[in-house]
Symmetry: C2
DNA sequence: GCGCAGACCGAACACGCGTTCGGCAGGAGG
DNA sequence: CCTCCTGCCGAACGCGTGTTCGGTCTGCGC
């Protein structure tokens, strides 16, 4: 179990350093120091720098997809599922900002066997969004149109999560409802509550 | 004038290489090679790598802001101004994809005297968007709400411009109208033409 | 006690990087 | 003809990097 704890600590350190500095600025020496290990000691657990990136990326995407599917399973309607996706995404972004940065910024830097693996998980995430929008669609949009709308939505979410715009006063719950309202009804309308009665307190 | 041509070529080369590889992966040697100069020859024109980044960034932001202000000046209503902003942004993204990447990805890497300078130009751009949304607002939104809506909108745009999702079939004009419609009226509504009669052919 | 295996480390290697230095061509001015 | 200046280059310096090698501990089976 001690080895597993070490491994876990290494992944945490790598996520933090890789997220804060970016893949190419982050040095393996810095990750080792953050994990309370020597440089060569870190190499005892990990084959190289790209494996470190892969491990962090893989774990983060598993967490994100897991959170999402758990939230989706509890949402009965398409509207609540959309809200659940937005909420999960923003929540993850606020709770694991470094992991989010790595997902959005550094995943292309992996080399080929592994790159496809995380690309598949990224695509699975997009598919969840696309499925929800397909349910929500009332105008018979084509797959291409739905896909670009999905990318628009995810772009909005990443635009928020990227930098701390309004993190000061707002909490992710309210923010998610606001984003959902804007996406569903547009900027010109204003309907505060997206889901008419679907709120449950925790 | 030959010196000006050289300078221009250097900026083009730097924009291309910096955009494609990112600041820290791009080497000055590669930029020099792309500009048909030797390594030391490049240093004859430029003080260092960060100055290269600054020059590219500054020129790109000037172009973007210039394009935007020119398009805004011709747009009579708030709706057409919104459409103009979206169009300009997407157009710039399609025409100068490398410059767009640098603007969105690498500007934070500048060191302090210059960083503030490009931050100011970036903020000026956001202010244009915020002003348009303020005109468009029918619900007395607060400055914070308008700012976050602006960031949502810009996030959507960058989400598209980032990767070639649908570049195959769509052209920026149609795409811009689609984005504007989705932003103004929401996903649930569908109004094809955002601006009822404001189209002029070129 | 003995040996072995695994956790861990200090020191080095090879390499690519940003930057600098000394110099070479060639045209202009005296 | 000499000199200066500008555009440009080959070669090097110093440094930080990812990675590896040889070794030292410590604990456990026999």
């Amino acid at each position: 179990m001690a080895i597993a704890a070490r491994y876990h600590g290494i992944l945490e350190a790598a996520e933090d350093v890789l997220g804060r500095r970016g893949y190419h600025q982050a040095s393996i020496r810095e990750i080792a120091r953050a994990a309370n290990l020597s440089l060569a000691g870190l190499y005892h657990y990990v084959r190289g720098k790209d494996e470190l990136l892969f491990l962090v990326l893989d774990r983060a995407l598993d967490t994100l997809l897991g959170d999402l599917d758990r939230a989706l399973a509890e949402a009965p309607t398409a509207e609540t599922r959309l809200l659940a996706l937005i909420r999960t995404h923003l929540d993850f972004g606020f709770r694991h900002p470094q992991a989010m940065k790595i997902i959005n910024r550094d995943w292309e830097l992996l080399d080929e066997p592994r790159r496809s693996e995380v690309a598949a998980k990224r695509q699975a995430y997009v598919q969840r969004g696309l499925g929800i929008l397909r349910e929500l669609d009332r105008h018979g949009r084509s797959g291409d149109e739905l896909l670009s709308a999905t990318n628009l939505l995810l772009g909005m979410l990443n635009g928020i999560a990227r930098r701390p715009f309004l993190r000061s006063s707002e909490d992710p719950r309210d923010l998610a409802a606001e984003v959902a309202a804007l996406f569903l009804y547009g900027f010109l309308e204003r309907s505060r509550a997206v889901v008419p009665g679907g709120e449950h307190d925790d």
